[in-house]
Symmetry: C2
Subunit: 245 residues, 2 copies
């Protein structure tokens, strides 16, 4: 990602490796992010932690959390520009560029999950606070029943609502609304707790698109969170049953 700082180009780049044993905090992954901006170590650390919280720590492949992970953020200063020299707008743009790189890599890791055929984006909105939105989204992302339903293109809304229900967050089935597909082309399947009549073929098609989008509105507040996962395939089992230690 390149941003412009008073006419000088600053870049933020990254590479990452993942695949299995991916579940926050953080995942079996290695990632290196670089920038040619000059940034003091304390600022690098703070910026990276903020970006990781909403990217690498929001992905799940198998719910199996790793004991090993690394994300490094290196600043060379080769652009000749320093963070201190940026105006507030420039600093904001730099933080946004970092988040964009981290989110892009995190989504690639989820899509590249062992045996996965597509990326699944779970957005939970209408929560009382961001933590509860995250807890619900994480519970859905971890459910083998949701992930196998996506794999089979089965618009099984009951599994999504059940995973929200057992997440531990305070939810109310009577205020939940659910849709499958991108916002501008979604198929609504539940509205305020009531199952809607819907075109099963269209809903199934939404679950076969990459990325798959599952949008659950809890109907309780204004906060939201997004978690990325992947579908669960027989290939995942084959890979992990026959992996030699």
């Amino acid at each position: 990602v390149e941003i412009d700082a008073d006419g000088r180009a600053i870049s933020v780049s990254g590479i990452a490796k993942g695949a299995g044993m991916i579940h926050p905090q953080m995942a079996t992954m290695l990632s290196v992010i670089t920038t040619d901006l000059a940034v003091p170590p304390g600022d690098l650390d703070a910026l990276l932690r903020a970006a990781v919280a909403c990217s690498f720590n929001r992905i799940s492949v198998d719910g199996d959390r790793s004991t090993n992970d690394t994300v490094l953020f290196l600043a060379s200063g080769a652009s000749g520009v320093s963070l201190e020299a940026l105006d507030p707008g420039g600093r904001l743009a730099f933080g946004a560029a970092l988040l964009r790189v981290c989110t892009d890599l995190a989504r690639q890791i989820a899509r590249d999950g062992e045996g996965a055929t597509r990326l699944v984006e779970i957005e939970v909105s209408g929560a009382r606070d961001e933590r509860e939105a995250h807890v619900v989204a994480d519970s859905i992302a971890r459910s083998p029943l949701v992930k196998t339903a996506v794999h089979g293109g089965d618009p099984n809304w009951g599994r999504v609502l059940a995973a929200a229900g057992y997440s531990g967050a305070a939810v109310d089935p009577n205020t939940m609304s659910l849709s499958f597909g991108p916002d501008d082309d979604a198929v609504a399947v539940v509205a305020a707790g009531l199952p809607l009549p819907f075109d099963a073929r269209a809903a199934s098609e939404r679950l076969r698109r990459d990325p798959v989008r599952i949008a659950l509105d809890l109907g309780l507040g204004d906060e939201r969170a997004t978690v990325w996962t992947c579908d669960f395939s027989a290939e995942y089992v084959a890979i992990n049953a026959h992996y030699t230690t």
Copy 2:
């Protein structure tokens, strides 16, 4: 299960139905337990709760918790004997018979899990308290990586220790010991945190027996807990990807 009460036979019987969406508390299951002992409702309730806690609430097929479950305990009094008439030893025997029926049914549900080929018994010992032992056993039972390793007969001890590590319980890798197989014929793979040289073929064979036994000693105390699960197969994915809602 039949027990003898002063020369009169009392029976405890049960039936259960499960398969998928099995995770405490409790599971998508239906179960009815019956006895011909006369038992007051309050005692029936207390006895059943105690037995369920260590049986139906200790199984996991896919970590997906159900919103629907039932276990009923019915006492007909047809034996002509009442709980009040039993001496302390008889009451103990009755409670043990109930626990045996519940545990037997719970194990059958786990073995009969969707796509499962065998029962997996995870015993965690050496815990500071029983709750922590349960948390660790549950984390191992829920791990897709452990369950696929069992399916493939892969003695992947690292996955078991990792699941204990991320369980949330306070564990110490340096005091953990792990073995695969029944107590009188187990293959030790880790002792006090150190990986042991072991016969991979023998360890793999232990993971192909039904039931599979995984015994983890945390080395921190005297408490223990057992959780039953099953292996994770490609058939589980096939069943749940193509289930029509």
